[in-house]
């Protein structure tokens, strides 16, 4: 007996009991169920935690069963916990193993037991299994691997007949714009190329605030990037594929505030956050820590005369709304004349006016900094 197919996104019109619809990137097609099919490379699946209901289901099909038989089948976690630790080294190995499992291990749990009928050719139909002991609602953002042992019940014992491995992305909520779940060959379906970045950058985030903060900091601190005033990755459309290529390439590259706002919004919203991009105009800035700058290097504290600056807004644009800025770190030191600086990532900061805790006060030295009330979520390409 063997597993033929495992379906995670078995109902593309629903997100409450199965996986969401995803694609690899702009090229190609959406990843269809079955994500696991014997003889083919396995495809990943992604779950949005918030909308999942009480019952999360998968479907599976089997072959090479005994013709015209009925048998109980289940899938259980194949992970074997390390032996009870003894000595310091033992405890260390146990600790590291547990940590890796917590961060990257199985979130699907096991399946319930189903009675499966095989026809005269030893083939089963598509059987629905309910996940039991899953951690999809509680694990937080991540990329996890599930190894399942598939077992049948015979003579009061469970016998393993096959194993499967599944890469599972877990996001906090249904991805927000520019991403959507519309049917068809839709390029705005969540990309696994983007999930690989977002889920790693916001690994373990349990809340949307935490996820947006981790994404903002990650965008700001990518090691090979530096600042240029011109928009590199698109103003009408966000060239996410090009940005990911540069990140993966490992060579130095440049980007500006619009590119950073695109990255923060697009990756955060992929995890279910609700950010928008919006601009403010005409300002001479105070000194701030430049993109990917080192706070202890004075030359990295810079000031610019900007015609505009683009940042991310939580829920909506407004004078007293909350912002995220992945392009810079503001200086929270109150004496702007000296060489003492206190770097702070602008995460969930009030835009505000002239309060020392306001982003506007910390960024703008002079100029009006008027807001453009045009919220943007640029389509990805």
């Amino acid at each position: 007996m063997q597993v033929e197919e495992v379906h995670f996104n078995h109902d593309t019109s629903s997100i409450t009991s199965d996986a969401i619809t995803i694609r690899k990137n702009q090229a190609g097609n959406p990843i269809p169920a079955p994500e696991w099919k014997r003889g083919l490379p396995p495809q990943p699946a992604a779950y949005a935690a918030a909308p999942l209901g009480a019952h999360v289901t998968i479907k599976a099909r089997f072959s090479a069963g005994q013709p015209d038989s009925v048998i109980k089948i289940r899938a259980v976690d194949a992970w074997v916990p390390p032996a009870t630790p003894t000595g310091c080294l033992g405890w260390l190995i146990w600790f590291i193993s547990s940590l890796i499992r917590a961060l990257f291990g199985n979130v699907l749990g096991d399946t319930d037991v189903q009675v499966v009928s095989f026809d005269g050719a030893g083939l089963s139909g598509l059987i629905t299994f309910t996940l039991v002991n899953h951690k999809l609602k509680s694990s937080g953002v991540g990329i996890r691997t599930t190894d399942w042992k598939w077992q049948y019940h015979h003579h009061k014992k469970w016998h393993t007949f096959d194993t499967t491995q599944h890469k599972i992305y877990l996001v906090l909520d249904v991805p927000n714009g520019p991403w959507n779940q519309n049917a068809g060959n839709n390029t705005q379906l969540p990309w696994t190329d983007a999930l690989d970045k977002a889920c790693l950058w916001a690994l373990g985030a349990q809340t949307k605030d935490e996820a947006a903060e981790k994404i903002t900091i990650a965008v700001n601190t990518q090691p090979n990037q530096s600042y240029t005033p011109s928009t590199i990755f698109g103003f009408g459309t966000y060239y996410l594929s090009s940005y990911i290529n540069q990140l993966n390439g490992g060579a130095p590259f440049q980007l500006n505030c619009t590119d950073c706002a695109d990255a923060v919004t697009t990756f955060s919203n992929l995890l279910g956050c609700d950010l928008w991009e919006g601009r403010l105009f005409n300002m001479i800035t105070r000194k701030f820590l430049t993109l990917n700058g080192n706070p202890s290097v004075e030359a990295d504290w810079v000031s610019w005369s900007w015609g505009y600056h683009e940042i991310c807004w939580l829920h909506q644009i407004g004078q007293f709304e909350l912002i995220y800025d992945g392009c810079l770190q503001v200086d929270m030191d109150n004496n702007y004349a000296d060489l003492v600086h206190i770097a702070k990532h602008p995460v969930k900061m009030r835009f505000g006016l002239n309060d020392p805790n306001d982003y506007r006060y910390r960024l703008i030295q002079s100029g009006n900094g008027n807001l453009e009330n045009i919220p943007r979520r640029r389509a990805v390409a």
Binding site: T228, P229, S242, G249, A251, P252, Q254, N256
Partner: protein, 245 residues
């Protein structure tokens, strides 16, 4: 469309008004050749959709043994020369600097650059192309000479007897101001990095919904010449005369 402030600040509408209606060039498939960047290696080539029907060809060039020196060359193929100027305005609008100085000067193109002290970049509208060259690595690399070389190649024309196919117009005879569908049939298979230039005398040329059109500005014959430029191969051309009443 870029806002009024940008249009005014950079003289967008003045330049649009200067674009004549009695001659135009149209390029398809243009991108930097290795000959334009001797010593550099192309490490990326991406085709990206841009606003409307525009198409962006992005190439990244790296200098061997110096990973901090990199150049990004974006060539946006627009629908027409005015559309390329609009794309340039859009590019300037997407620049955080309050003001960009003029770059190379000439009657047939419009160009702006990053000021001194800022990572070098040049923005150039020529024919139906927006060409943006950016110093892309950690180290500042001058972009001016490359822009000049690209411009030189764009403007170069060569006499040739070799042909690459056939140009036809529909209708074959036109009235002044009438849009005429232009088709070209190739009898060769273009190699990578080949590009087409179509020059029109006596009218303008533009692309709409993937089809090329010419529009005669006056009466008399309208001359259409097309060149196929291919790396390492002889340049080929074809011509067509459209009578205009």
């Amino acid at each position: 469309m870029p806002d009024e402030r940008i249009r005014k600040q950079y003289g967008i509408d003045e330049f649009l008004a200067r674009l004549g209606e009695d001659a135009a060039h149209f390029y398809s498939g243009f991108a930097p050749w290795p000959e334009d960047l001797e010593g550099w290696t192309r490490t990326a080539r991406e085709l990206l959709p841009a606003d409307g029907e525009r198409l962006l060809t992005r190439t990244v060039w790296d200098l061997q043994n110096d990973r901090d020196s990199r150049l990004l060359v974006d060539v946006t193929e627009c629908g027409s020369a005015p559309d390329a100027v609009e794309a340039l305005a859009g590019s300037l609008e997407a620049n955080q600097l309050s003001s960009l100085p003029s770059g190379l000067r000439g009657n047939t193109f419009l160009s702006f650059v990053h000021p001194e002290g800022v990572s070098p970049a040049c923005f150039l509208a020529y024919a139906n192309l927006l060409v943006v060259v950016t110093s892309f690595g950690r180290k500042s690399v001058s972009v001016e000479s490359l822009v000049k070389r690209l411009l030189q190649r764009l403007e170069s024309s060569s006499k040739t007897d070799a042909t690459f196919g056939r140009l036809t117009a529909e209708p074959a005879r036109a009235r002044r101001g009438q849009e005429v569908l232009l088709r070209y049939a190739l009898n060769i298979t273009p190699i990578e990095d080949s590009y087409l230039r179509i020059s029109v005398t006596g009218g303008t040329i533009f692309r709409r919904h993937g089809q090329l059109f010419v529009r005669p500005a006056g009466t008399g014959p309208m001359e259409v010449s097309a060149w196929m430029f291919e790396r390492g191969r002889e340049t080929r051309s074809v011509t067509l005369t459209i009578p205009v009443e």
